[in-house]
Symmetry: C2
Subunit: 150 residues, 2 copies
DNA sequence: TTCATTTAGTTGCATTTGCAACAAAAAATG
DNA sequence: CATTTTTTGTTGCAAATGCAACTAAATGAA
């Protein structure tokens, strides 16, 4: 039975839950790790793009990012050519957390992929990328108010 | 690179977001569809098991379920042999929503699996089930306060 | 250039989320 | 049997979440 999406939901909730509990000792509150890793990997990214990247509501991202700044993990830098956007850059302290977050993530990946051959893990990644690509359009248009017919 | 878990997170957030928006016209608020479908498919299930099934915090489930009852979509029935548990059963109105939720879910699955062959979709499902199985243990133990070493 | 549209960001408000901390029934241990 | 532990459920907070509604800059169209 076509339960792919249910499995994905279960896995995502379980892992997010684990990460949130584990990162509490880094003084990161719910969800913050998501934004911080991406900002470290793509410094200069703006809020709007970051929200699109991780598939979260713009306003939720706005507040999470605001809090990261308040806590001294990132800064918002103004762009010389565009007064509207604010480029997000990790602070030194933010960068220090990056490898810790990645290590946790690697460990979760190890657990998740236990028993899968390299070929299977690669195949899984390929298929997931296609699925993600398939749904991105719907997410963006539904977010903007478009109705899907079915 | 081993981005399987990131892809899963993106897909899950995007689809959950879409579902929440689409089910608003059924007067279902955030997340409620998750619980309602499962109660329809497994009537008599108890709160604790339901939370484990969908991988969500016990107290979050408690309140979502409470609201489903308040809104007349499910009832909590006492068990004749066990005074502690409350068996969750959909009402008629709850059952009416079931096929609507499933239809939406089927459509999302159609979109998500676009371009995948039957073999690929099946392989994806098999792999996801294994991944889910792999992480369930960690989720439950971390939830109960156990620390993972890595 | 002018005006409309899109993009980027913010704030208000109502709701959901989830850790603590608790209670009570049931099950396990001795 | 008594008593310890686990299971199931709840409530109090504090925080995150997300839809509306709003600004203002940038971009596009006429």
């Amino acid at each position: 039975m076509r339960d792919q999406l249910r499995e994905i939901g279960m896995i995502a909730r379980a892992l997010d839950s684990i990460s949130n509990i584990e990162f509490k000792e880094l003084a990161l509150t719910k969800g913050q790790y998501l934004y911080l890793v991406r900002i470290c990997e793509e410094p200069g990214i703006i809020q709007e793009k970051l929200a699109e990247l991780i598939k979260v509501d713009r306003t939720t991202a706005a507040r999470a990012i605001q809090k990261l700044e308040t806590n001294g993990l990132i800064t918002k830098q103004e762009d010389p050519h565009n007064k509207k956007i604010k480029r997000l850059v990790p602070t030194e302290r933010g960068q220090e957390l990056y490898p810790i977050i990645i290590r946790e993530h690697e460990h979760s990946t190890d657990i998740a992929l236990t028993g899968l051959s390299d070929q299977e893990a690669e195949q899984l990644l390929r298929l997931l990328k296609r699925v993600r690509h398939n749904i991105e359009g719907d997410w963006e248009s539904v977010k903007k108010g478009k109705k899907r017919d079915y």
